[in-house]
Amino acid sequence: MKAMVFSEKADLSSQMLTLFRNTFEMDLYTTSNENLLNFGAKNVFKLTGNNLYVDNISEKLAEMYKNNGYDIIIIGSSAMGREISSLLSEILHLEAITEVMKIEPKDGIIATERFFYGGKTVIREESEAKIFTVLPGLVDPQPVNSSSTENNISIDKDSAIKVVDQIEKPKSSVNLEKADIIVSAGRGIGKKEGLAVIQQLADVLHGEVGGSRPVCLDYHWLSEERQVGLSGKRVKPKVYVACGISGQVQHIAGMRGSRMVIAINKDKNAPIFNECDYGIVGDLYAVIPKLIEAMKK
């Protein structure tokens, strides 16, 4: 089967090419400027243009899909990727399934697996869908020895949307997806100052600090790049220490890949205790200093 693969991101592109190189013959379409020629795509098409946005990119991809006889379209899951998949699904009248972790073709039917109910469950579906978006971080990119053919495609059509300004964000200071040890703070810390003790524990463990959705997005006590959860970072450290985190499904789905989970929470009925290897029922402000002291011994 011949697959059209798109992502605006280099990391997602190389991940998808690694993940599916034994299943499909793939051409990569991307707006990234990074070198993606050695990840197993037959062709790499670089999309260029003055005002690239989801609408004119989708229209060009639809045209290429029809002209080049692809069987399916695989798109990296990002805000842009999901938008493009929804537009492509309408332009080409093809069904789409987003945020999948698995794509298994068999006899014209494709089986997919994706999170459902906010990450509480995984749903396996079979369909004749032709468009899929794939979650990031499913695989570490592996280069191949052969090189793809490089092509350029310029998109002349203007977007209906105008970019009137670009606001630089502070450079990312942390990559939680790559951290070995993460100490995460939840609503249970109660105040921003509570992060100090979380940081101390992280320092002792040589780990990074993460946070739940309320801590990062509602209270802004931590930056959004530290948010662990289905809508934030999906992490897989060796050790994940959840402090004052109740364990809502959204959060669990983001840290389920952790090898060991330790939970500290004063509510013994908190759902996090069902998702941990070791737990302590107690006030984190009493427990953590003791834990730090014990670690220093």
């Binding site: 989801v54 805000a79 999901r82 938008e83 998949s85 929804s86 537009l87 699904s89 309408e90 069904e95 987003t98 994706r114 999170f115 459902f116 109910y117 906010g118 509480k120 469950t121 995984v122 749903i123 396996r124 579906e125 079979e126 369909s127 004749e128 869908a129 209906a160 949307i161 105008k162 970019v163 009137v164 670009q166 606001i167 964000k169 990312s172 463990l205 040589h206 289905l230 809508s231 060796k238 050790v239 499904v249 389920r256 989970v261 939970a263 013994k268 205790f273 069902n274 998702e275 941990c276 290897d277 070791y278 737990g279 029922v281 009493a286 427990v287 003791k290 834990l291 014990a294 670690m295």
Partner: protein, 247 residues
């Protein structure tokens, strides 16, 4: 003055959802419904546009028997009129986008607001599909929204940069959680919501989807679940384990 449409979704309360230990399937019986998280942000933003620039907000939801509850909450938050499209049976963006677009195509509107992804299914397909069916621009993932000269201007989050985007109206804008803090309507507004116009229309679905659910179950948790209620004992045990992990 703007004609504003806000589309929102009612979902099962996933945070109260339990899993059957033997089958790993979710137990849906007696599970309450709630207004979906980003739907609240969408409603809030629609009402703020009305309050700031003038106009009228019409709320649309494609739902089941319980949808009146979600609509009443939206009306209490400041939506002026509600339309319930009744007949929702399954999570399927093909169907939902078709139902919404058919209804909206016969209406007057300048701007449509939706959440960018729902908290239960996370497909994120409905806004783009509706926008394309209506042949209007999709302006996605807003964390800030302003209207000026019959145009909409949003700030969209990006990984390294945030983009400020502008589009002519009519347009469909999706919002992220950061855009606002949804209001909790005071009791008087909840009471008054009952007097606002609310239409219920039965929907016949004739969209074909090839999607079949094979299973839907919670991943098996292989965690040890050794939980200490004695803090000192827990600290002693856990620090021992941690020392084995931390170099």
């Amino acid at each position: 003055m703007y004609n504003i449409i806000v589309c929102f979704k009612q979902i099962l309360d996933i945070d109260q959802m339990k899993v059957d230990e033997s089958t790993q399937e979710p137990i849906l019986k007696n599970l309450p419904y709630r207004l979906e998280d980003l739907s609240k942000n969408a409603i809030e933003e629609a009402v703020r546009i009305k309050e700031k620039y003038g106009g009228k907000v019409i709320g649309i939801t494609y739902g089941g028997d319980q949808a009146t509850l979600a609509m009443k909450e939206a009306l209490a938050m400041g939506v002026d009129e509600g339309i319930i499209l009744k007949g929702y049976k399954e999570n399927n963006p093909e169907i939902t986008s078709d139902v919404l677009a058919k209804k909206i195509s016969g209406m007057q509107y300048d701007i449509i607001i939706m959440g960018n992804q729902s908290a239960d299914s996370y497909t994120g397909l409905v806004p783009g599909k509706v926008a394309r069916k209506l042949s209007i621009p999709l302006v996605g993932n807003a964390i800030k929204l302003e209207m000026a000269d019959r145009r909409v201007r949003i700030t969209r989050t990006g990984e390294e940069k945030n983009l400020v985007l502008e589009s002519n109206l009519p347009a469909l804008v999706t919002v992220e959680q950061e855009i606002n803090e949804p209001r909790l309507p005071p009791l008087i507004q909840i009471m008054a919501a009952g007097r606002k116009p609310m239409k219920i229309e039965e929907i016949q679905v004739n969209v074909k989807s090839t999607k079949k659910v094979i299973w839907n179950r919670a991943p098996k948790s292989e965690r040890k679940r050794i939980v200490f209620e004695d803090v000192d004992k827990g600290v002693a045990e856990i620090s021992k384990v941690l020392k084995g992990e931390v170099k």
